[in-house]
């Protein structure tokens, strides 16, 4: 697939941009934050987004989706990134719907996906247990209990967990923490007994929850995929999360860069525009190069998933490493070049800095993904 947007994709981008400018500009995130909105986003607005086809963008038409792909999803997420729109695309669409599509039985798909596409069902992946990302560092255990399983453990950083209708819980049915084998995915209704979900107050004002499973009972029909082979679903799921986060990080970076360049063209110091200082010019030009490279890898990584290419995982890691570093650079420089005003909560640059850091540290930072990338290159 070409590394340029098709006409349809350009149209999708323009539509998304227009919609988000009206309904979910950066001020919307601030309102949600300052209003201490309990769900962290507006359910009616998510419904509207779903009507635009965003919730079901990856889901085949037979389950109520639009049957598009990551190339299109990436366009939408990049625009969301530009406006820090805090909607559950990552939790529900990228992770949740993908997990059901990758591992779900026909009846599970029919059960869950139409609600997702309609913007009514929120899904959340409950996997991570420690601060620094490690895909298999899971201590939570699921033991056979009657016809089903009994799950015990604690999860953190469960994105949109506190508003989720269903959790996808990763627990060990065998093996030891850190091992790839023995993981199993379970669909867990958020209202089930023994489940405690608490929202965490996050630096990026987005939604994440801590989840405690205290002997939660689930039926055998709630297993997603094969028992003990959860990593077969988890691995591509993480790749998809990385690619989606890369698109968001790209959107954040481009927005911050454009705002910063604009600021350099309007802010005066010592009687001249600060954009005339060569020291700042050179740094801006270097950021431009980094962003051009980031654009290319994000486009290719998105397409690799749609094309089911064998190098998808390698490109996902490449994209996440690249965009994490680029966003870190650009948001830091953005604050610095805005000077004192960039340090205030009133100015929006700081909100981008916070979200970029959260996205950078989610599902593995740049060093983590360079490690993966090297492994996938065979060295």
């Amino acid at each position: 697939m070409a590394l340029v947007l098709s006409e349809e994709q350009q149209f999708l981008r323009d539509t998304a941009a227009e919609f988000l400018d009206e309904k979910s500009p950066v001020t919307h995130l601030r309102e949600l934050r300052d209003g201490k909105e309990a769900s962290g986003f507006s359910r009616p607005l998510w419904k509207e987004m779903s009507e635009l086809g965003w919730a079901g963008i990856l889901v085949p038409e037979e389950y109520g989706g639009s049957g598009l792909g990551f190339a299109e999803l990436g366009v939408v997420i990049e625009e969301c990134g530009r406006r820090l729109s805090p909607y559950p695309l990552l939790s529900t669409v990228v992770l949740g719907a993908s997990a059901v599509l990758l591992g779900g039985s026909e009846s599970q798909r029919k059960d869950i996906l139409p609600g997702v596409c309609a913007g009514e069902t929120i899904l959340a992946l409950a996997s991570q247990e420690q601060g620094r990302f490690h895909p298999y560092q899971v201590e939570s255990r699921a033991e056979r209990s009657g016809d089903g399983y009994r799950i015990t453990g604690e999860k953190k950083f469960v994105l949109d967990g506190h508003v989720a209708d269903q959790l996808i819980v990763v627990a060990r049915t065998a093996g030891n923490p850190g091992g790839r084998d023995g993981l199993t995915l379970f669909l867990v209704d958020s209202a089930v007994a023994g489940l405690e979900i608490k929202r965490s107050n996050m630096v990026d004002s987005r939604n994440a929850a801590r989840v405690r499973l205290d002997g939660v009972e689930v039926g055998a029909d709630r297993v997603l995929g094969e028992v003990g082979a959860g990593a077969e679903i988890l691995d591509p799921l993480h790749d998809r999360a990385c690619v989606a986060l890369s698109a968001e990080l790209l959107g954040i970076s481009l927005e911050v860069f454009e705002r910063t360049v604009e600021y350099l063209k309007t802010r005066e110091q010592f009687g001249v525009l600060i954009g005339s200082f060569q020291g700042l010019k050179h740094r801006a030009a270097e950021m431009f190069c980094e962003l051009e490279l980031a654009k290319s890898i994000v486009l290719d990584a998105l397409r690799a998933i749609d094309e089911k290419r064998l190098d998808s995982a390698r490109l996902a890691s490449a994209a996440k490493a690249r965009t994490s570093d680029a966003a870190s650079l650009v948001t830091r420089e953005g604050v610095q070049m805005h000077g004192g005003i960039g340090m205030t909560d009133e100015e929006e640059i700081g909100l981008f800095l916070k979200r970029a850091k959260a996205a950078e540290l989610s599902f593995g930072d740049a060093a983590f993904h360079r490690d993966c990338f090297a492994g996938l290159m065979g060295f």
Binding site: S200, R267, V335, D345, L361
Partner: protein
């Protein structure tokens, strides 16, 4: 014993019982076993009154203006004896002591010194500094706040930003434009006035790291007394530059001690408990200890080689920075050259601290993404807020870009 030594000893002998008598037990926090109980307001006032009345809160200022009038040697004795009873001197206005006082002593007239210095010593007035303006930034001399003479007063309009603790201050010393029709450095004056007068509005500034003690201060037809204009009319820039030197010196001091207005603490070693250092020959890396708890280790060796390399680089930076501070001090003593510029230390400490907190975030992973409340330890929240706050280090007190310009011009002599 020389006559100076004798005089010093006499000073010590009268000081010791005086301190014993006047320092409440609750304020002797450094004494073995710590203070008996937390001090009451009354005890704090008592300590302030006692020390202030002898001028020991500003020990080297002249006696005639309320200071202690101590020589350097006497100051040393005072500090030793304070250490002996285990008490800190009472806190009086930082901006009064470190900034305004020296300036008044140099540029103020007799009346101004008499009026203002003693009140700083006695802790009666908290001062703040009206320097930066929203439109000016690094270009301090571009300030726009106007002061227009009106009889015995100046009428002031405009606003100041980044005014530390303005919301808990009584008076402000302020740079104002008194002549807009001359080159920008030539139309600035330095004036003092009471913040509790009509027309002053003070708004604390919310930072990306949360609430702060920075304020924005607005002046709308504020009346300042003309007698409180310090130095010549339109001669304020000379005073401003001197004050910036005092500020830079207090920032450099802060970098060594961890004290002062700027939260830059570059060396982990500085934080490590002294007792531990005395036992072990090698210093402790707090970053490494944090990483060990969070990521594990293989024997002594941290499990993640990439983070380990970055931590080593930070500790190396910190070590070399500390040695450079020490060398700079020794060079100054030995009269060898100007030493490395203060700009270099400001620049390097800011950038190093930013890198350190970025590294700390990498170590914490998503445990570093908390803002408040449950699910995160207080230390994690503090580190996250500290990471955000550190972004200001390279902006406040002269941006890193300004420091680079200063080094290029003044140290390297590169052309404009």
């Amino acid at each position: 014993m020389s006559s100076e030594d004798e005089a010093l000893e006499a000073f010590r002998q009268q000081l010791r019982p005086w301190l014993e008598e006047n320092c409440p037990a609750s304020l002797r926090v450094l004494a073995p076993g710590g203070a008996a109980s937390p001090p009451t307001k009354q005890e704090q006032d008592q300590w302030l009154h006692a020390m202030g009345s002898r001028g020991y809160t500003t020990p080297t200022w002249p006696r005639e203006y309320g200071g202690g009038g101590l020589s350097k040697a006497e100051l040393q004795v005072l500090n030793e004896e304070l250490g002996r009873v285990g008490a800190y001197p009472p806190a009086v206005s930082f901006f009064g002591v470190a900034m305004l006082g020296p300036v008044l002593l140099e540029f103020g007239n007799e009346e101004q010194k008499k009026e203002h210095l003693a009140r700083i010593t006695k802790g009666e007035i908290n001062w703040c500094q009206g320097y930066s303006e929203p439109g000016a930034g690094s270009d301090l001399a571009g300030l726009q706040t106007r002061a227009v003479r009106d009889g015995d007063h100046y009428i002031i309009n405009g606003s100041k930003i980044w005014t530390t603790q303005a919301n808990v201050s009584d008076w402000i010393f302020c740079l104002v434009r008194t002549d807009p029709d001359v080159p920008k450095h030539d139309g600035i004056s330095f004036i003092l006035f009471d913040l509790k007068v009509p027309g002053v509005t003070i708004s604390p500034i919310e930072l990306i790291s949360g609430s702060s003690d920075f304020c924005q201060v607005f002046f709308e037809d504020v009346k300042a007394e003309a007698k409180d204009l310090v130095g010549p009319l339109n001669g304020g820039w000379t005073i401003a530059k001197r004050l910036l030197e005092h500020e830079r010196r207090s920032i450099s001091g802060a970098m060594g001690s961890g004290a002062g207005p700027l939260p830059i603490v570059p060396t982990d070693q500085a934080k490590a408990p002294k007792t531990k250092q005395a036992v072990e020959t090698r210093p402790t890396s707090l970053l490494a200890e944090n990483a060990r708890l969070r990521l594990g280790s293989d024997g002594e060796r941290l499990a993640d080689p990439i983070l380990r390399d970055r931590i080593a680089q930070h500790e190396l930076d910190s070590l070399c920075f500390g040695l450079s501070m020490r060398r700079s001090g020794e060079e100054a003593k030995a009269g060898q050259g100007p030493g490395a510029a203060a700009s270099m230390f400001k620049l390097y400490a800011s950038e190093m601290n930013k890198r350190k907190l970025e590294l700390q975030m990498s170590i914490m992973g998503v445990d570093g993404l908390g803002w408040s409340g449950e699910g995160f330890t207080p230390e994690e929240i503090a580190d996250t807020r500290g990471w955000l706050r550190s972004k200001g280090n390279s902006i406040e007190g002269g941006t890193s870009e300004v420091q680079l310009n200063v080094i290029a011009k003044r140290v390297l002599g590169l052309p404009d």
